[in-house]
């Protein structure tokens, strides 16, 4: 089945009816072309919202409402209950938008519930990342341009999203992993950074970082997610997941290296 750009946009914005969303997600798993179509519509919603938020502070002083009011002849109506403060962003929208942010190009994750052992402190994010990563094929990254300036700009953007530093030179110097791209995604309103690598054997591997919100450090734990090798740990206020491919030794070694460097 093919989807119009409008339908895909509605899906990304969480506006597609449930049944249609589910059908689309089922289709996504077997239809790489659809993933590409979704990627072509992918925008950085948190960045857009935060850019717009910067305009709020540029407002000129508010007009003198009392003076304006006096200039209006109409008598005041009888005072009556004030409306509830207009909380324009409903909880539903918050949940939908954060979910949608994570779904940029993902989709398949909806059917999954947190089922991976030991992830209870942060239910969900590792599942989402694993599902996202499962869609990666070597072609996803082989043609990505990797000049230093681009990588630096992307990495700076990612670092800024997490309010921390990220060192491009370090990311580029890992043995067996070629640094290809840094992207800012989002999970439940929190920025989620994905650093994408291609292994020497051509397998896509990603290091994902999300703020830990005060959670305690956790030692590195190897795991298998969606048939991929992975390792997760928490350190210094951030949670990490390294995931991708079948090379357990590579993942464990790289995870130790990241853990030591970051």
């Amino acid at each position: 089945m093919s989807y119009s750009q409008e339908q895909l946009t509605a899906y990304l914005d969480g506006e597609l009816p449930n049944a249609e969303s589910q059908a689309l997600e089922a289709e996504l798993a077997n239809n790489p072309a659809l993933c590409v179509q979704l990627e072509e519509l992918a925008i950085d919603r948190p960045a857009i919202a935060s850019a717009f938020d910067q305009l709020l502070a540029t407002a000129p002083p508010m007009p003198d409402l009392a003076a304006l009011q006096d200039s209006i002849a109409e008598p005041a109506p009888a005072p009556l209950p004030v409306p509830a403060n207009d909380n324009f962003v409903s909880l539903r929208m918050l949940i939908a938008s954060s979910f949608v942010a994570v779904c940029l190009g993902v989709g398949v994750t909806l059917g999954l519930s947190g089922g991976f052992g030991g992830q209870k402190q942060q239910p969900g994010w590792i599942d989402f990342v694993a599902s996202y990563q499962a869609l990666y094929v070597p072609e996803t990254l082989t043609n990505v341009k990797t000049d230093t300036a681009t990588l630096e700009a992307e990495t700076a953007r990612a670092a800024h999203a997490l309010s921390r530093s990220l060192n491009v030179a370090q990311l580029e110097s890992l043995q067996g992993l070629d640094f290809k791209r840094a992207q800012v995604l989002g999970f439940k309103g929190k920025p989620l950074v994905q650093l994408a690598f291609l292994s020497d054997s051509g397998e896509p591997v990603a290091l994902c970082i999300i703020k830990a919100n005060g959670a305690a450090d956790e030692a590195m734990a190897p795991k298998t997610l969606q048939g991929m090798e992975a390792a997760s740990w928490s350190k210094g206020g951030f949670k990490y997941l390294l995931i991708g491919g079948q090379d357990k030794a590579l993942i464990n070694r790289a995870a130790r290296e990241f853990n030591a460097r970051m």
Binding site: T9, E15, L65, Q69, A78, T150
Partner: protein
């Protein structure tokens, strides 16, 4: 049932609460500082005048956004074009975000420039759905167009923004 009304204090409070967002809305709508200033003033005045038409059970922000957009389309935009104002385009506005460093301002600038380069109808849809967090239905009510129109505006905007972003990254 008799319609409830707001007293003056409540109206002032409601306007005050929504004012920074109203400013942003005017800026996005007009695309320039000068017209946005005129529009935000006029909109506050119009809201005071028309407050009897506002149903306190509904949403004040959506109501004032709707009347502001109508004013811009019906009264002020043509005047602005005739008088050739708009000498102070939105690109010139300095972004101040005290909570973040200059880096964030530069990033915000890039993103905003891309959005402001979109046609008015598209950037308004982007503002309402992606910054205000409105549903398609809510945005369609404020913009007074069918939901399908909101969807297609967002879809076109997404294609442009996504490709622009890729290009910028490529050039970086």
């Amino acid at each position: 049932m008799q319609r409830k009304l707001l007293d003056h204090a409540a109206v002032s409070e409601a306007i005050k609460t929504v004012y920074p967002r109203l400013w942003r809305y005017c800026l996005t709508l007009t695309g320039n500082h000068t017209d946005a200033q005129d529009l935000v003033q006029a909109a506050c005045l119009r809201a005071l005048e028309k407050i009897r038409q506002f149903d306190p059970e509904s949403h004040f922000d959506r109501w004032i956004f709707t009347i502001t957009r109508r004013m811009w389309l019906n009264e002020l935009r043509s005047k602005s074009v005739r008088q050739g104002t708009g000498v102070d385009p939105i690109e010139e506005i300095e972004l101040i975000d005290s909570s973040a460093g200059p880096e964030s301002n530069i990033l915000g600038r890039e993103v905003l420039d891309g959005i402001m380069a979109l046609p008015e109808a598209q950037r308004m849809a982007v503002l309402l759905v992606y910054a205000e967090g409105y549903s398609y239905k809510e945005a369609s009510e404020v913009l007074e167009v069918p939901i399908g129109t909101v969807m297609s505006r967002l879809s076109t905007a997404r294609v442009k923004l996504a490709s622009q972003f890729t290009t910028q990254e490529g050039e970086g």
